[in-house]
Structure formats: structure tokens, C-alpha cells
Amino acid sequence: MENRQELLNSVQMARFVARGSLRLDAVVPAEMNAEGLAVLAGGVPPVPYGTPLSDAYAKGSFVRRLLELPQVAGALRSMVGPEPWVDHHFVHTREPHGGAAQALHGDAIIDVRPDAFDVQLMYYPQTVTLEMGGTLSVPGSHLRRINESDTGRYQNLRGQDRLVCPAGTVVLLHHGIWHGGRRNDSDILRYMFKIRFNPRVRQRRLWDTSDLHDPQVAAELDAMFPWYEGATGRLERYNRILLWRELTGDDGFDLDHWVTRVSNRPKETVA
């Protein structure tokens, strides 16, 4: 029997499609965070690339229980569907007063899939302060076609998200989002556990779509971010519309006529 899952609604999915991330603050209970810190400190043995989720982590294990939390399980199900592959996982640490910030990058290699995406889960077992060098991410960067750290030249972008969060926070990221671990200027070793998931079903209407026509859906998809150049910001919306069409199967969906206008090529002739 499947565990309880709290699916995302359409407004939350639209926000994810626009921002490239979904944050679940303090979704992991305190006693699990204490356990999680010890588990991460000891290391989590790797699993082979492409292991089905139900085979990746033993029943009752910490990671399995983390992924069975109703909000986490529901968000994952909404994004990648049932039984995704575990691509890989990794325990990331930022040493106190050590090292440098990571260059801004996208994980893996350039990924141009217009109709599918991977999700990266990031779990923070500790409270993360600004000084601890929480993950930097750039809202709305996930549809940009760049390869890994070719964006390393960019140090700061207006409206960037320097993660500060309570213990037990889980962030789910579209695979393409620009991000990087910031320099840890505190006395505390900072942990983050990341798991990448590959979908195994078509990512179409996997969430609770009962609010699909809520006006807030379009409002979320129409979001602009402070680092966007004016002209390219319009293209961002164009690309989001295409992704929303893929996720919903609604080929007529549009915002302010952006896609309709430039794909309008009537064939009828005047009688």
C-alpha cells in the first residue's frame, strides 16, 4: 500500500515551472533532522545510476523515511510521477571558514529536453544561516541553455536566492537551475543531501489539477525576475508557456498571446 502523499496543486506547479524550484520549509521533523545529521556524517552508500526508487533505499532507512514524508512524496509524485529512477545522490558539505564558493553552474550537462525534466531534491538537516553559505540559486534560470559551469563568470544576479532556512527544509529543483554552494564563513560544518530523480512516465497532469483554471496559475507563469533582461524576459515566458502546454496537454494555453501571435500562419484564402 502506498504511503500518504500530499500532491501539489496547479498554482504550486505553475510556480515551479516559472521559478524552477519549490521550497518546503521545515518539512522534516526535528527528531529526524538529528538522525539525518548523523546519517549524512557517516555517508550514504551510493546506488547504481537509474535504480528504481523503491529499490534504492531499504525500507525503514533514513532516506526512505525522508522520501515518504507526505509533503515530500507528494511533491515528487507531482513532478516526476511514481517510481522515478534515482539518478544519483550525494552528501555535500561546506567546511567552516574553508574553501571557496562554487561557481554558478547547472548540474550534469546541457539538457535541451522540452517535454521532460529531472528533479533534484536538496535536504538541509540544520538551520542554515547566511554565514553558513547556503546554496545560491537563481530563480527562473532553469530554461536557459547553458553547459555546467560556463556561467561561472556570473557572481551575483539581482533577485538571486541565497538560501537561509530552518532545519528540515527540502528544496526541489528543476535540473536546469543555476546554483552553487556559497562560501561558508561560519564555524559550523554545513550539510546538504542531494538526490537526483529521473521520471519514468510522461510528466503530464501528475499533480492535483482541480484548480487548473485558477487565474493564479497564469499569474505565477507570468512572473518576471529582477535579473532578466527586458527582451529575453519575454522569451522566458514564451518558453514557460511551451513547457506548461507539455505538462497539461493544453496546446491552446497562452499568456498575453505571446506564443499564439508568432505561430499564427493562417492557411485560409479570401473567397
Binding site: Q102, L136, I146, Y154, Q155, N156, R162
Partner: protein, 110 residues
């Protein structure tokens, strides 16, 4: 680290010049459009700017950097999209490189 003084004791010391670089990403190809991103590199070694070290841009526009003494030495070319890739989004387009040349004999903070 700043190099040792170039003062040889044979007269006025020659300046020891190092380049500081500021990269501004602007909202359009106009130099007076507003800043959307920024990076700094310091050839004096006195500061260590890095990824994600600030949420506030050093200037509001490219012209504001000029007014503060930065010298523009490179601006991104305007390159039309390749056919078939007109809607692709990728790197920031409007990149401007500025420099300031600093005499590192001067006291830090002066």
C-alpha cells in the same frame, strides 16, 4: 597579495599598477540601462569577491560606473540569433567590462 614596494631608494618610487575589473550585466544593450548582474575581480589581491557575496549591485547602471571612474574596455557584441534558435535563452547578453587601475603602493582603504 600586494607586491613589495617598487621604491628602490633612488628617487620617487615608480607606481605599481594593478587592474581591478568590474563586469556589469545590463537590462539592454544600452550602457545607461539598469544592472541585472555583476562580478568583480581584484588584481590588487586586497579583496576576494566571489559567487553569491552580495544581493545589492555596486551601481544602478553602466553609466553610474563610468561616473565613479570605471573605464569601459569591452562591451558584448550584438549577435542575431541563429535561424531556428530565435526563442532560445542562454547566457546574459549585455555584458560590459570595466577597469580601474590602482597604484598598490597606496594604503589599503585610502
Amino acid at each position: 597579495m600586494p607586491p613589495a614596494s617598487a621604491d628602490t631608494g633612488d628617487g620617487p618610487a615608480a607606481p605599481v599598477l594593478r587592474q581591478q575589473v568590474l563586469v556589469l550585466y545590463l537590462a539592454s544593450s544600452a550602457l545607461d540601462s539598469h544592472v541585472v548582474g555583476w562580478s568583480r575581480y581584484d588584481g590588487t589581491g586586497r579583496t576576494s569577491p566571489t559567487t553569491g557575496d552580495s544581493d545589492e549591485p555596486p551601481y544602478e547602471s553602466g553609466v553610474a560606473a563610468l561616473q565613479d571612474g570605471w573605464r569601459l574596455f569591452q562591451a558584448a557584441q550584438l549577435i542575431p540569433p541563429y535561424p531556428g534558435h530565435e526563442y532560445d535563452v542562454s547566457f546574459l547578453k549585455h555584458e560590459f567590462f570595466f577597469e580601474r587601475v590602482v597604484d598598490v603602493r597606496a594604503q589599503i582603504g585610502s
